[in-house]
């Protein structure tokens, strides 16, 4: 069959042409991709050179010793300095005994107490500013005459109110601290439990002294008339009963 042979030939030729076209396409694609990658590599090399240059510059600067230029501090340095000085200021305020923080509707005050170098309790007071200065809430113990003080001095004289309140609180905390220390350190001398009250402005206790093989039972009564002081105003000591021999 001559026709079959020609057809087969033609098919072979067609197939070859197709194959070559595909290969050509692939080759072109490959070349395109290579060109793309080459340009990208070139770009990256340029970028790397630029970064190297910048790095060298910075290192050069530091090595030269002009890191802290006082005339031109970096913004970061300024910020750190500001934070440090603010913290110190807040700590200073805290040490004065009365510190505060403004809130949305007023101010929140912290009254810190101490006695002879020992930091003791902190109390809080939240004041509203409008329509006039008044107490919103607080953590002051109920035996401190807060209502009295606020009635007399708030809203007109905030400074006096705070000063007096601080004195009351410091004195109370001081008296309490002294009473506790007294009970701790002189526990051998004291007989029974000392009697005191919430404000610690009246202290009664019994103790005994011995002299010449005789013991004298004594009772002491300390009255603190001034609520703003932590020292007693009246002390009464009496000797009870007969002198019992040791």
């Amino acid at each position: 069959f001559p026709g079959a042979g020609v057809l087969a030939q033609l098919e072979k030729l067609e197939a070859r042409a197709r194959r070559e076209a595909v290969e050509q396409e692939e080759r072109e694609q490959r070349e395109e991709r290579t060109a793309l990658l080459r340009s990208r590599a070139r770009e990256l090399r340029l970028r790397r050179d630029e970064l190297r240059r910048k790095l060298r510059e910075k290192e050069g600067l530091r090595k030269a010793g002009t890191a802290a230029d006082p005339a031109h501090p970096t913004p970061r340095d300024v910020l750190e300095w500001r934070i440090r000085s603010l913290r110190a200021l807040l700590q200073l305020f805290h040490l004065t005994g009365i510190s505060g923080k403004l809130s949305k509707r007023g101010v929140c005050l912290t009254l810190s107490t101490s006695y002879e170098g020992s930091h003791l309790d902190s109390f809080h007071l939240e004041l509203l500013a409008r329509p006039e200065l008044r107490i919103q809430r607080h953590s002051i113990p109920p035996f401190i005459p807060l209502e009295q003080l606020s009635r007399r001095f708030l809203p007109t004289d905030l400074r006096r109110f705070l000063a007096l309140l601080s004195q009351h609180l410091n004195a109370y905390v001081g008296r309490r601290f002294q009473a506790e220390q007294f009970q701790e350190r002189f526990s051998d001398w004291i007989q029974g439990t000392p009697q005191r009250n919430s404000l610690c402005n009246l202290l009664k206790f019994s103790y005994s002294l011995s002299r010449n093989s005789r013991s004298f039972p004594l009772q002491a009564r300390l009255l603190y008339r001034d609520p703003c002081r932590s020292l007693p105003t009246e002390v009464t000591v009496c000797c009870s009963g007969e002198w019992a021999p040791l």
């Binding site: 807040l90 305020f93 805290h94 510190s99 923080k101 809130s103 929140c108 912290t110 902190s122 809080h124 939240e126 809430r137 607080h138 953590s139 002051i140 113990p141 109920p142 035996f143 005459p145 009295q148 439990t193 009697q195 005191r196 009250n197 919430s198 404000l199 402005n201 009246l202 009255l223 008339r225 609520p227």
Partner: protein
């Protein structure tokens, strides 16, 4: 020793859990160490109490000592009782030098002048708390030791904590004696009740943790650590919402432990509001309704409502104002005058 005293001591000892009996008898201090050594605390409580009564017989106990044992029991198990808070008011502004002996004398005198048959017992505790136990009788009958009232008072404060007995009729007398002894003018009951005496004290003495804004840095452990998963594959979709709820909750409740209350009760005396078509009631009268929240620890459970997703944050101020207003019984009326208060002299 009186029969009734013996029986009372026996019944008091029976109330105490077996492991605590020795400790409580030691606190009582009425029986000597030697006598306590003779007791066998491993037998059944019936026998222990009988032996204790015998020892008390030897020491000739009277009702005064028995009452002290009862105070010790009730102080140890104070949370079994329901406590109410009363507030006193005074007119003068002089400073008080509270003298305990003076107080006790005045209190006893006032009560005993009105009612001869009373048993009054005092006991002071380390936290400046004065416990008073009063057993009530009538002019013709001896005091009933099984239904006493307990009063806890901290000197120089206007608050008294009372766990009254069932006999409410003696309350006015008790209140009178208290204001006379503590130098106050009048007394009224606050709308604050709980089983936890310490929590009531925390609320009125402002000892609970309120969220004050200060510049004092919070200690690092105060920050809540996220429990469990640090798996980076898990993304918290509602993180900002959760943080908002957390922030509002902290504003409302503070950081520390909440006072323990068992109830919050709201008595509504408001008009029923409905659309005009649904006119449910013919007459416009207040819709009487009582809403009561109860829980073993009410405030803690309210605090966890919003984070658990069961309520919207912020919670209603009616719920969050409880410690601040020092009340857990509210009456809600119509327009103004939300929380009525009234001072009544007895």
């Amino acid at each position: 020793m009186d029969e009734t005293v013996a029986e009372y001591i026996r019944r008091t000892v029976l109330k105490i859990p077996r492991d605590e009996i020795k400790m409580m008898l030691q606190k009582w201090g009425f029986l000597s160490e030697a006598q306590l050594q003779t007791l066998n605390f491993h037998q059944i409580k019936d026998n222990i109490s009988q032996e204790v009564v015998q020892l008390c017989e030897e020491n000739a106990a009277d009702i005064k000592q028995a009452a002290v044992l009862d105070i010790i029991y009730n102080h140890t198990y104070q949370n079994k009782r329901m406590w109410s808070v009363y507030q006193m008011r005074k007119t003068g502004e002089e400073l008080e030098y509270f003298d305990l002996t003076d107080f006790k004398k005045k209190f006893k005198r006032r009560l005993q002048s009105a009612l001869k048959n009373v048993t009054i017992t005092f006991r002071e505790y380390e936290d400046d708390a004065i416990w008073i136990r009063v057993a009530w009788g009538t002019p013709y009958r001896q005091p009933n030791q099984y239904k006493p009232s307990y009063v806890v008072y901290h000197s120089q404060t206007p608050y008294v904590f009372i766990s009254a007995s069932v006999l409410k009729s003696n309350l006015p007398l008790l209140c009178q004696a208290l204001i006379v002894a503590s130098n106050y003018h009048d007394i009224r009951e606050m709308e604050l009740r709980s089983h936890s005496l310490n929590s009531l004290k925390d609320i009125v003495f402002k000892r609970y943790s309120q969220n004050f804004h200060t510049y004092c840095p919070k200690p690092p452990q105060a920050r809540a650590v996220e429990p469990g998963s640090v798996d980076l594959r898990i993304i918290n979709e509602n993180r900002s919402e959760k943080e908002r709820i957390q922030r509002l909750n902290q504003e409302a409740f503070g950081d520390g432990p909440q006072p323990i209350l068992q109830f919050a009760q709201y008595k509504l005396e408001t008009m029923f509001k409905s659309s005009p078509e649904m006119d449910v009631l013919d007459k416009k009268e207040p819709f009487r309704c009582l809403v009561k929240f109860s829980s073993p620890h009410l405030l803690e459970s309210l605090k966890s409502l919003a984070p658990a997703g069961m309520a919207d944050a912020p919670l209603s101020p009616l719920l969050t104002c409880i410690p601040q207003k020092a009340r857990n019984y509210f009456r809600i009326r119509e327009k103004k005058g939300f929380f009525p208060e009234s001072f009544v002299s007895p």
